[in-house]
Symmetry: C2
Subunit: 451 residues, 2 copies
C-alpha cells in the first residue's frame, strides 16, 4: 500500500476522540506493527466520519470495522450502492446463466437455534392468562418461541428452495446460478443486537463432474473483480480453506481475503457443497432435481458469498493515500486522498464558483447541475454552500471525500465559456469549454469501467 | 383500463389451480363487479407465475396481492429492482437536496410492542437453569424479551436520528431530505410470519411555515412519478386522508392510490408530521435542531413512504392488456401482453435464431449478447433454448414476459447483416442492420425514460 503517513509507533495519547474505543478493537485484532496499524485505522475512521461515509459514534465505526452493516452517511451509502451494483452486474451480466431472485428474510423452519422473531403482543397475551400455573406459562412461552419464524443468516437456503421452479427457465440444463443480495442476520457476540450483514450471494448449480473446475472458475472471476477496483490489487488474495475449517457440507472452500492494517479478513467465501443440502431441502426426491447433463444426475452446489459491508471497508482502506505536500507558505502538510475507483466513487464531480457575479455564476451552475443529473453523474453542489471557503480548503475536503473532479465556474466562464477542471488523482487543473464537460466526465467514468 | 377479457361473471369453477385460494382473498377485497375482477386477477397471477415474475405457490401470490414482499422470480426481482432504481433517481437525483442514508433494521428501543429478535440460544440457556423456580424463570424470560432489539417497521425513526449528523452537510440550511429504501417488518395478521415490505422512504425537513406547500409539492411529484410509468395513468390518483384516519403525530396526510381490480389501495403515503417526533427523538434539545431559516426554528417533518412491493403489483396489473386476435388458421385467440414501461420492463430484448446454419447463427448471437451486456441492455438469450418452438409460440411467451423487442437472426443475416426486430407494442417486424441494433435499443429505452 502506498501509505506514507507519519509513523511514530504507539504515540497514541488518551483522548475523548470518538474512534478511540473502536481502536481498542483494532489493537486486539492487530497483527504487526501494532502502532502503525492503529494510526492508519484511526486516520481512516476519522476521515470516514468527517466526510459522511459513516455516521458518528464509536459503536457505529466499530460495526463497520468488524465487517457489519452500520449507519452509513450519504457517501458510504452511495459507495455500498455502487459496490452492490457492480457485483450484481458482474455476476448476472456475465454470459453465464445467472438469474436474480428474491426470497423472504424470515421463514418457519425446523431449526432449533438462531434468531427468532417474536411478537411481543403475543407474549404479553400469554403472560396475562392468570388462570395458568407458572409451569403452564413456561410451556406456552417455549411453544411460542419454537413456532416463531427465524431470520435468515444467509441466502443459500432460499436459493436451494428456488432451484426447482428455476429449472423450467433453463429447460433442465446445467450449469446455472441464482443470485440475491440483501441483509442477513447473525446472532450477536454479546452486545445484544444481532449483527446485520449486507451479503451478495451466488448459488451455482453444476454437473457433479465439473464442480471442482467451476469452483476454480468462480474463484478466479471473483478475485479479478475485487482487484479491478483496487488501488493496490495485491492486497486482495485468495486462499484455500484448511480442511479443519471446512463447513460441514463442504468438500472444498476458498476465501478471498483483504489485507487490512490489522490483518487479513475474508471479503468473499466460496464453498463446493455437493448435493446433500439440495437433496435435503427437497426431501430427497431425486427425480425433481435431476438435470439433463447426459447422466441425469443431481447437480452439485457451489456457493459464493460476499460480505459487502466488509467490502466497503476494504475499498475505503485500500484507497486512502496519505502524501506529504508543501502548502503555499512552504509548510509541510499531509494530503489525504481517498482514491476510490471512478466507478465506486460516490461523488463524481463537485460544482463550485470562484470570483465573479454570484447570481449569474449560480445560474450557470444550476444549468450544469441539471445536465449532470440527467446524465446520471452524481454531483456535489458545492456552490450552494453559503460559508466562504478557500479553494485550498475545498480541494482538501473533496480529496478526502474521494470526489473525482472539481469544476470551478468563474467570471471568465461567463465571458468565454471556459471553466477549470481539477482532477483528484493528478491535482492538475485543466481548462475546458462548458459545452464539453459533461461528455468528458461520462467518457472518463465509462472508460475506467471498461479497463 | 384496457382490459377486454372474457367476462362471464362468476364462472369460476372449483379447481386445484395454484391461484384459486389467493382468489378467495380477492373476493373478500373485491368491490364491483366481483366476477370480472376475480377473472382479471386470476389471469394476472397465473401469468406472473408462468412467466417467472413470482415463485409458484398460493401463499406467495397472496403475499404479492396484499402488497407484501414475496419470493420473486427472476423477472419480478428485476422489475422491483428497476422500480426501486427509478424511485431513487427521482428522489435523490432531483435538484432538491436529498441524501441517501442507511440505518440498521434492528434497534434497542424503549418500545413495548412490535417484533422482537430473540436468540433462541439465550432462551435455552435460561430454561436450563434448573436451580431457579418457575416464577424466577418467567421473570428472566420477560426481561430477556424486553431487552431484545426490535425490528423496524419503517424508516422514519432512523431518519430522525440521522437528522443531527446531516445538518453539517447542508450547513444548517433547510429544506433537505434523507432517503432510504429496504425491508421493513410488520407484525403478522395471524399467519405467524411477520409481513415484510420493501419500502422507499423520504423524510423531508422544512421550515414550519412552508410545510404545507412542501406536502403539496411532494404529492404532485410523487403522483407524476407513478403516472409516468403507467399504461393507464388515471388508475393512479391521490386523495387526502380523512381526519379520523390521521396518524397520531400528523396534521395532514395524502395517499397515492392505485385502482386494483378489487379496489383502491395506497402505493405511497405522505404525512405532515410537525416537529414533535423530531424533538422527542433528540430529547427535546431544541438548540441541536434549530436551523438557519431566518427564525431559528425547529424544522417540520414530512414523511413520504412508498410500498414498492405493492408498486410492483400495481404496474403488473396496470400493464396487462388482453386483446383478441386471429391466429394463422383464422381462429380467435386471446393475446396477453404485459406492456410494462420500457424503463421498468425486466427484459428489454430477446435474442432468437430462425432458419439457417445453427452453429454460425449461434456465434452471431453470442456476439450480440456480449454487445448488449456491455451496453447494460438486459437480454434474454432465447437462442440457447434447445426445445424447438414456433415463432408464434415465442412471440406469445415474450409478450407475456413483457419483452420489448425480439431480435431474430437467420441465414439472411449471415449474408446481408440484416435481422428482424419485432416490437412488443406494435407487433410490427422491421428489418435492421446488425450494426445498428444496439444503438437502436439504447436510444429507444433512453427516449422512453426522458418522455
Amino acid at each position: 500500500m502506498l501509505y506514507c503517513c507519519v509513523r511514530n509507533v504507539c504515540k497514541l495519547k488518551p483522548s475523548p476522540c470518538r474512534v478511540t474505543l473502536a481502536l481498542q478493537h483494532t489493537r486486539r485484532l492487530c497483527s504487526a506493527p501494532p502502532g502503525e496499524a492503529v494510526d492508519q485505522v484511526r486516520t481512516l475512521l476519522e476521515l470516514c466520519v468527517d466526510r459522511h461515509y459513516v455516521s458518528p459514534g464509536q459503536p457505529n465505526t466499530e460495526l463497520l470495522q468488524r465487517g457489519m452493516s452500520c449507519c452509513y452517511g450519504p457517501l458510504g451509502m452511495e459507495l455500498r450502492r455502487n459496490l452492490l451494483q457492480q457485483w450484481w452486474l458482474s455476476v448476472t451480466g456475465s454470459t453465464q446463466q445467472v438469474f436474480g431472485i428474491n426470497t423472504l428474510s424470515s421463514s418457519k423452519g425446523t431449526a432449533t437455534d438462531g434468531l427468532r422473531i417474536v411478537e411481543s403482543e403475543q407474549l404479553k397475551h400469554i403472560l396475562e392468562q392468570k388462570e395458568l400455573s407458572n409451569q403452564q406459562l413456561l410451556q406456552k412461552i417455549q411453544t411460542l418461541i419454537q413456532r416463531s419464524p427465524s431470520l435468515r443468516t444467509g441466502f443459500l437456503q432460499g436459493a436451494l428452495e428456488q432451484f426447482v421452479p428455476s429449472l423450467e427457465l433453463v429447460n433442465r440444463k446445467l450449469p446455472f446460478g441464482l443470485a440475491e443480495t440483501g441483509l442477513c442476520f447473525q446472532p450477536s457476540d454479546g452486545s445484544g443486537c444481532p449483527a446485520e450483514v449486507t451479503q451478495a450471494s451466488l448459488v451455482w448449480f453444476c454437473p457433479p463432474r465439473t464442480s471442482s473446475q467451476w469452483l476454480d472458475h468462480w474463484n478466479r472471476q471473483r478475485l479479478k473483480w475485487w482487484r479491478k477496483f483496487a488501488l493496490s490489487p495485491s492486497d486482495f488474495s485468495s486462499s484455500d480453506v484448511p480442511e479443519e475449517e471446512l463447513e460441514e457440507a463442504a468438500s472444498r472452500g476458498v476465501r478471498i481475503l483483504y489485507r487490512f492494517p490489522w490483518g487479513q479478513e475474508p471479503v468473499e467465501t466460496l464453498w463446493s457443497r455437493g448435493s446433500t443440502e439440495l437433496l435435503h431441502t427437497h426431501n430427497g426426491v431425486r427425480a425433481k432435481l435431476q438435470c439433463r447433463d447426459g447422466r441425469k444426475s443431481v447437480p452439485h452446489v457451489i456457493s459464493v458469498t460476499g460480505n459487502m459491508d466488509r467490502g466497503v471497508m476494504a475499498f475505503l482502506s485500500n484507497s486512502l493515500q496519505q502524501l506529504k505536500k508543501e502548502d503555499s507558505k512552504k509548510k509541510m502538510l499531509q494530503r489525504k486522498v481517498l482514491k476510490l475507483h471512478p466507478v465506486l466513487a460516490p461523488v463524481k464531480v463537485a460544482l463550485d464558483i470562484g470570483r465573479g457575479a454570484t447570481v449569474e455564476l449560480r445560474q450557470v451552475c444550476d444549468g450544469l447541475l441539471q445536465e449532470f443529473i440527467e446524465a446520471k453523474i452524481s454531483t456535489w453542489p458545492g456552490y450552494l454552500e453559503t460559508m466562504p471557503t478557500s479553494m485550498e480548503q475545498l480541494n482538501t475536503k473533496y480529496d478526502e471525500m474521494g470526489v473525482l473532479f472539481t469544476v470551478v465556474i468563474n467570471e471568465n466562464t461567463l465571458e468565454s465559456g471556459l471553466l477549470l477542471v481539477r482532477s483528484r488523482d493528478t491535482t492538475i487543473k485543466e481548462t475546458k469549454h462548458i459545452s464539453e464537460i459533461k461528455s468528458f466526465l461520462s467518457t472518463y467514468i465509462s472508460a475506467a469501467d471498461n479497463l
